[in-house]
Amino acid sequence: MINLMRSEWIKVRTVRVNYVLGMIAGAFPIIVVALIAALTSDEQDVARNLVGAVTGTMVLTSLLLGVIGALNLTSEFSHNTIRATFAAAPQRIRVLLAKAIVTLVSTLVIAAIIEFVTYLVGSLIISSRNADVVLDGSDKAALIGAVVLAGLLSMLGFGLGLLIRNSPATITLLILWPLLLESILQGVLRAAGVEDPTPWLPYTSAILMANPDLNSSDPSRLHGGLYLGSVVIGLIIVGLAVNKRRDA
């Protein structure tokens, strides 16, 4: 398994598109938070809301990292390199699990680094404006939640990729999931008489993990993480079963 993970890590590191997407994913929150910290007129207000700005922009970063997670798998199918991979390591489940572990761990590390740098840049700018940034427990939980969300979205992309095995279709579905699928599901649930459908929407409830200002009526961060995590695990299990049987 270690050899397979080393192989997958080499694959992740040696494709330029991963660096390009990673730089975009990293640059976006850093630039946006830096601009907010520097340009917002009320420095005390921005100091209070720094974590919200960081985790809010990290949601988009998480989605981009999810795209990288999906591409790590689907590019193997689109370039047929999966055949060379399986010819070198025919135990498909182990290969795909190694790929999932490498994708998950690298996403978590990258997301943590991006978030740390974003927070550092924002707090340094705010400090230079003579305001203090104070982290409370909810802020810390949201910062951790944003990193976990990135990991879950990368695995969502991976799971969708396992089932769809096509890069454009997988990325489209990954992006449409929060924008379209959950909106439709929300409408259906409301029509069915569910007063607050948020707890039933995996992405919408998981995104609350990155929210430092949860309302009492919102589902907990744990609920959101577990729910999306369960959906992701389900997708991956089905995807693994399908890929074990299908022609490569």
Binding site: S7, S75, H79, R83, F86, A87, A88, P90
Partner: protein, 340 residues
């Protein structure tokens, strides 16, 4: 040793491979031949577990491929030179493969040098020519120095030097006792490279045996005679039941009599002979003959054989436009031909 038993693969209603069974022995190059769409590539993918067979299996030294740990040390396969990410360098492509089997990066550099890609190792594969990709694929095959080698059309895109190189490499590997199975459409190359043949058509086994046996069994045989008394000799041969066709006024081609019989008949009738030589079709002729009923895709009209050069070495019978054409034409055509 590779053993294929009852391998069957369907794609919907199409049976791509149908109850295919054959063995590939070590110590020789086995050519895997078949027309387009005959199921060669599907068979190779099934052997490696890339396509799931509907029935039957393939075993490498008694084991299924999927049960082999670190298969690069045991089975090296090049099924398609295009199975590479164009954005990755050749060296990194091989590093990823090597790492999956615990092969050190130093071996990657070795095989890159071995296949002549040392200078291009760090270039992205997207900029490689087809020939360079074939060499990269071969480097991947050689990574673990395996004792079984599967190659699907390895000469595609290679220049003449590259084709000769791959022939020498495969012959050398077989000489070391390795099991080598190679498919190719280049029949002249196969004739020089292969010791043994497995020929399939429409997913079924057509024949298997040595190259010599295959040619002897499926290619046409005839006798060529040059004589100033060709016309008289032709008369006597026809009387003896042979089929005779004139190439020119002094050269005849005879089917239905051996060179010994022709020589004795000429002596008996005091005919002077300037040439008396048995002729045999090429591997290409034998292949076309053997697979005539098993070609899924073929051009409309006759299949031309090798350019009418019936006298030269391995070349085969001439095309239909030559005097011998009628002799080789199907029964529906005018079989009286020439001066027969």
């Amino acid at each position: 040793m590779i053993e294929i038993r009852g391998l069957t693969k369907r794609f919907g209603r199409i049976v791509a491979v149908n109850q295919l069974s054959f063995d590939v022995a070590p110590g020789r190059v086995t050519g895997f031949l078949g027309p387009n769409g005959s199921g060669k590539s599907t068979t190779m993918r099934c052997m490696l577990g890339l396509d799931r067979p509907d029935a039957g299996d393939a075993r490498f030294d008694g084991r299924r491929f999927a049960s082999i740990n670190n298969p690069l040390f045991e089975v090296g396969a090049l099924l398609d030179a295009g199975y590479v990410h164009p954005g990755r360098s050749g060296r990194n492509h091989l590093r990823a493969l090597a790492a999956s089997n615990g092969i050190p990066a130093s071996r990657v550099d070795e095989v890159m040098q071995l296949v002549g890609l040392g200078d291009a190792a760090k270039r992205r594969v997207g900029g490689y020519s087809l020939g360079m990709r074939q060499r990269l694929g071969l480097a991947g095959v050689l990574l673990g120095d395996p004792h079984t080698i599967l190659l699907d059309e390895p000469a595609n895109g290679l220049d003449p030097e590259g084709i000769r190189w791959i022939r020498d490499v495969l012959t050398h590997l077989a000489g070391q006792g390795k099991t080598v199975l190679v498919s190719s459409h280049l029949l002249s190359e196969m004739a020089q490279m292969a010791d043994h043949l497995v020929v399939i058509g429409m997913g079924k086994l057509i024949d298997t045996g040595s190259v010599e046996e295959f040619i002897a069994k499926h290619a046409k045989h005839w006798v060529k005679v040059r004589s100033p008394h060709a016309e008289a000799l032709a008369h006597h041969l026809r009387m003896a039941g042979a089929t005779v066709t004139f190439q020119d006024p002094t050269t005849i081609e005879i089917i239905g009599a051996t060179s010994v019989e022709v020589g004795e008949l000429a002596a008996k009738n005091q005919s002077i002979l300037h040439e008396l030589s048995p002729q045999q079709g090429s591997l290409e002729d034998a292949f076309l003959e053997a697979t005539a009923g098993a070609q899924e895709y073929r051009s409309i009209g006759s299949v031309k054989t090798s350019a009418g050069n019936v006298t030269g070495g391995p070349a085969g019978p001439p095309p239909p436009s030559s005097p011998l054409a009628d002799v080789f034409a199907p029964p529906a055509a005018d079989s009286t031909g020439g001066l027969t």
